[in-house]
């Protein structure tokens, strides 16, 4: 596996861990996502949350938010606050590179955690840009020639000829 990608993901993870350590009694979980909503890394505060309910991607959520925002006269998403029964979600864009989302305990800490998030956006922005450019490069091979149904049929016949099924 591409070691540059691994290294950058590890750095993103360390930043997420640092964010929790800034307010360990308030921040329950940190998710860093790319611009399509794919989770690059998540860190849960095991003192405040059990790690059972994890997820990997929210592309539909991100695209509906984008849809909502584009229908309203407020420009792109840079900050969303959502209140649930057991906690509060803060989602902040890392400029055009992705999103950082945290789950916090109480309303009282919204202001403080928002400042913490802002403090980390520059670093995360640099890491996400790097990750994007490294992952744009081929991992093993770039596929560009169009495949036809006949090609796939040839593969099937080839397999059948090599192995008596």
């Amino acid at each position: 596996m591409n070691s540059d990608i691994q290294r950058i993901i590890n750095e993103v993870r360390s930043s997420a861990e640092e964010i929790i350590s800034e307010s360990p009694d308030q921040i329950r979980a940190v998710y860093v996502m790319d611009r399509e909503g794919t989770v690059i890394t998540y860190v849960t505060n095991t003192v405040l949350i059990n790690a059972g309910s994890t997820f990997f991607a929210t592309p539909r959520f991100i695209s509906s938010l984008k849809g909502l925002v584009s229908a309203l006269p407020i420009g792109g998403i840079n900050y969303v606050l959502m209140q649930g029964i057991d906690g509060i979600i803060q989602l902040m864009s890392i400029r055009d590179a992705g999103y950082i989302m945290i789950i916090i305990n109480s309303e009282a800490s919204i202001g403080l955690t928002r400042i913490i998030l802002e403090k980390y956006t520059d670093r995360l922005y640099d890491l996400l840009r790097k990750l994007l450019s490294v992952s744009e490069e081929e991992v093993v091979e770039v596929i560009n020639v169009e495949i036809t149904p006949k090609d796939v049929e040839d593969v099937i016949n080839f397999i059948k000829s090599k192995a008596i099924m």
Binding site: M1, N2, I5, R60, E137, V140, P149, V152, I156, K162
Partner: protein, 184 residues
């Protein structure tokens, strides 16, 4: 003549049977399992060891099939998308030896469905030789599989079973191409 590549991804949680599946296939098909060097690997070395399963099968002078097994651990979730980029289809292997194991696959399956909503795929319910194995309707229900997606029983250690699943996936890819391209 440009070489065409059919890219097939073998996905599924850790322990589902991805490595076993590729290994069984390579016992009956001419599959090379060394990974070609990428840009970042030192010169002078033809192949390298990586964290994903890999297989390459030459079908014609101008046609190869690549199999990529994605690492199942969650901490690699971002890698799933990178490895899956440009794939023509994927096989989603699950360990179907118990309902708990099937449930473990839900997060990763949703990831693939959300990130690659229109890519042809098949779910292979592996370890069907285990006496406690979960039946296909229960699996469809747990994973909320759309009705048009096939869930097939698999015993990855069995050659016939592995070949049958691979050919079925290829047939899915073929019908998808027939529906979406001008060829026929």
């Amino acid at each position: 003549m440009p070489v065409k590549t059919i890219k097939i991804v073998i996905a599924g949680p850790y322990g589902a049977g991805k490595t076993t599946f590729v290994k069984t296939l390579s016992e009956v098909l001419p599959i090379e399992t060394d990974v070609p060097i990428t840009k970042s690997v030192t010169e002078g070395k033809r192949t390298t060891t990586v964290a994903f399963d890999y297989g390459r099968m030459k079908v014609r002078e101008d046609l190869v099939v690549h199999l990529f097994g994605v690492p199942g651990q969650e901490r690699f979730s971002f890698m799933w998308k990178i490895i899956a980029r440009g794939m023509h289809g994927y096989l989603f292997i699950i360990d179907s030896s118990s309902e708990e194991k099937v449930k473990e696959a839900l997060g990763m399956y949703n990831f693939f469905r959300e990130n690659f909503p229109s890519t042809p795929h098949i779910i292979a319910a592996n370890k069907q030789d285990v006496p406690t194995a979960v039946d296909i309707p229960t699996i469809k229900n747990i994973l909320k599989v759309p009705y048009e997606v096939k869930v097939m029983p698999l015993i990855a250690t069995n050659r016939r079973s592995a070949l049958f699943v691979l050919v079925s996936l290829l047939e899915e890819i073929r019908s998808y191409l027939l529906e979406t391209t001008k060829y026929g």
